[in-house]
């Protein structure tokens, strides 16, 4: 009755323990990686769900980042208008000009100084009154003041630094009259701070939501495969041995998810640029709209990898009971 039994009698012999292929680190790493890839192939559905979740979650974060980066860019452009003007009631000689210019540029925060002569001032005035030039009939350049227009460095454009700069400016001998549109600077800066706070709050909220969703998805997918963990520990696998393929799998899922998210975002962005002209009043390309800078893209990839890795790590901790 026992076909197998007869065979067994013939084949039973002591089996010499062979050498270990996994004795070297490279052998082990290769095994873990192969195992991870096999796991992905054998659990396609679970992996698709995980990668899709990571993709969607990171796409939302990336979209938010893209909007935020571009708003920051717009704000930067606006802040160019934070300008300090020093007025004089006489034309300055070339020597006076360069002397004062050097003193102003020596102040911390000054980035560019432009001299506006009476002729230049009149020309600008006329431009502003285009179509109503008659008002200026009989007005010569001598009624207008000359001035230095000072542009500030980016970091020095907030309200406090501008005020500090102006008071330092006033201490330079020969400078009396300084204007810098205090009210506008104050409003602009408080608006900017509000935007940044809102961005940080929203961004933080998004990140928490993403981490929560992704880590729970991974937890569920590992829960679905806890048999595998049980069997591995039953046959004497160490904790590390059980974990390693899952961690590599998590890493692959994370990187794949973030890559797809970035590609999708780029697609959306390009699509927006192509079609924006028809419903926006401005030309998006000319207005300095840009895609995410390279370091943000790398950041997203890293975030995806970390999400997959740490998500798997914390979930495994719960289900391995070696």
């Amino acid at each position: 009755m026992n076909r197998w039994k007869k065979k067994q009698a013939a084949t039973v012999k002591p089996f010499k323990r062979p050498g270990l292929a996994g004795d070297t680190f490279g052998g082990r790493a290769g095994y873990f990686f192969a195992r991870a890839v096999t796991n992905i192939r054998q659990n396609v559905f679970v992996n698709v769900v995980t990668i899709a979740t990571i993709t969607l979650a990171l796409l939302i974060v990336a979209l938010f980042l893209l909007v935020f980066v571009n708003l920051e860019g717009v704000a930067e452009n606006w802040s160019e208008r934070v300008q300090v003007t020093v007025y004089f009631d006489k034309e300055l000689s070339a020597g006076e000009q360069s002397g004062l210019r050097d003193k102003i540029l020596a102040l911390p925060g000054a980035s560019r100084v432009t001299y506006v002569s009476r002729e230049e001032a009149l020309k600008r005035f006329k431009e502003r009154l285009r179509g109503q030039e008659t008002i200026l009939e009989g007005v010569g350049p001598e009624v207008l003041p000359t001035s230095f227009e000072i542009t500030l460095k980016r970091a020095s454009r907030d309200t406090q630094k501008v005020e500090g700069f102006v008071s330092a400016l006033k201490r330079i001998p020969g400078i009396d009259e300084v204007q810098y549109g205090e009210e506008w600077v104050r409003r602009f800066n408080s608006f900017l701070n509000f935007m940044r706070l809102l961005g940080a709050l929203l961004g933080g909220f998004l990140v928490v939501a993403v981490v929560f969703i992704v880590s729970n998805t991974i937890k569920l997918t590992i829960y679905a495969r806890r048999d595998e963990l049980d069997v591995m520990s039953l046959v004497g696998a160490t904790r590390f041995f059980i974990k390693a393929p899952f961690l590599i799998e998590g890493l692959i899922q994370g990187v794949a998810g973030s890559l797809i998210a970035i590609v999708l975002l780029f697609g959306l962005y390009e699509g927006f640029l192509q079609n924006a002209g028809s419903f926006l009043t401005f030309n998006p390309v000319a207005s300095g709209l840009g895609f995410l800078p390279l370091e943000y893209i790398f950041g997203l990839l890293l975030a995806g990898a970390l999400l997959g890795f740490i998500g798997s790590l914390t979930s495994l901790k719960r289900f391995i009971n070696v």
Partner: protein
């Protein structure tokens, strides 16, 4: 090989699952563990492969105190013990070959050696022709033989079985039981928990009967003498 000294086990605050158990199983012995459901058979087996820690007493496997073993050492203990269950605990989405090879992969064997040794044990179990099938497509008897192959492929010192024939018909029961005997002949200490009276009576092996967490009867191999002193 297996020694239990005054072992008690309680799950939380409930009545104890095992109460003051003293048991000595020698190298190469074949022991049946029997008793009604809830008598503590499964708990006893779980203590032996380090899945549970006794609340009191000592469990010695091959001279090693399992209850004192740090968690990081448990895997190394399990590499010397094969375990099979009533529900087989096979990975359903993997092939027969993969299910058995996992034991050797854990040990870090090379691919070629794993292939040879795995096919060798599958041949012994009479299921070598099914090596590439997913285990979910096998019959119960075949699945249990895969589980046995997984447990025995590493030539363990001890084979533990928890109701291994509970889900099988008579023909399969006999085949599975013969595999236990073969393993025992080759020197593996075998402990089988079962309440299959017929299997026990046919086999004339040492019998330990548990009830309500205590050893109530011990019958020595092929003789009828009761109450072995430990």
């Amino acid at each position: 090989m297996i020694q239990l000294h005054n072992v008690s086990m309680a799950y939380q605050q409930d009545a104890s699952a095992l109460n003051n158990i003293n048991l000595n199983i020698g190298k190469g012995e074949f022991v049946f563990l029997t008793g009604p459901s809830g008598a503590g058979k499964t708990t006893l087996l779980r203590l032996l492969y380090g899945a549970l820690e006794p609340t009191r007493g000592q469990v010695l496997i091959d001279g090693q105190n399992v209850s004192r073993l740090p968690a990081s050492q448990i895997p190394y203990l399990r590499r010397t013990i094969g375990v099979v269950f009533q529900d087989f605990k096979l990975l359903q989405n993997r092939t027969v070959f993969e299910n058995v090879a996992i034991t050797l992969e854990v040990l870090g064997w090379g691919r070629a050696d794993i292939g040879k040794k795995t096919m060798h044990i599958l041949k012994q179990m009479g299921i070598e022709s099914k090596f590439n099938l997913l285990t979910q497509r096998l019959s119960g008897g075949e699945q249990q033989r895969v589980a046995l192959a997984r447990a025995l492929v590493n030539d363990p010192k001890i084979l533990l079985a928890d109701e291994p024939t509970g889900n099988l018909d008579d023909a399969n029961k006999n085949q599975i039981f013969n595999i236990f005997k073969e393993a025992n002949v080759r020197g593996t200490t075998v402990v089988v928990a079962t309440h299959d009276r017929r299997l026990i009576e046919q086999s004339h092996k040492r019998l330990v009967t548990l009830n309500k967490g205590e050893i109530v009867e011990q019958v020595e191999k092929e003789t009828g003498s009761n109450g072995q002193a430990l």
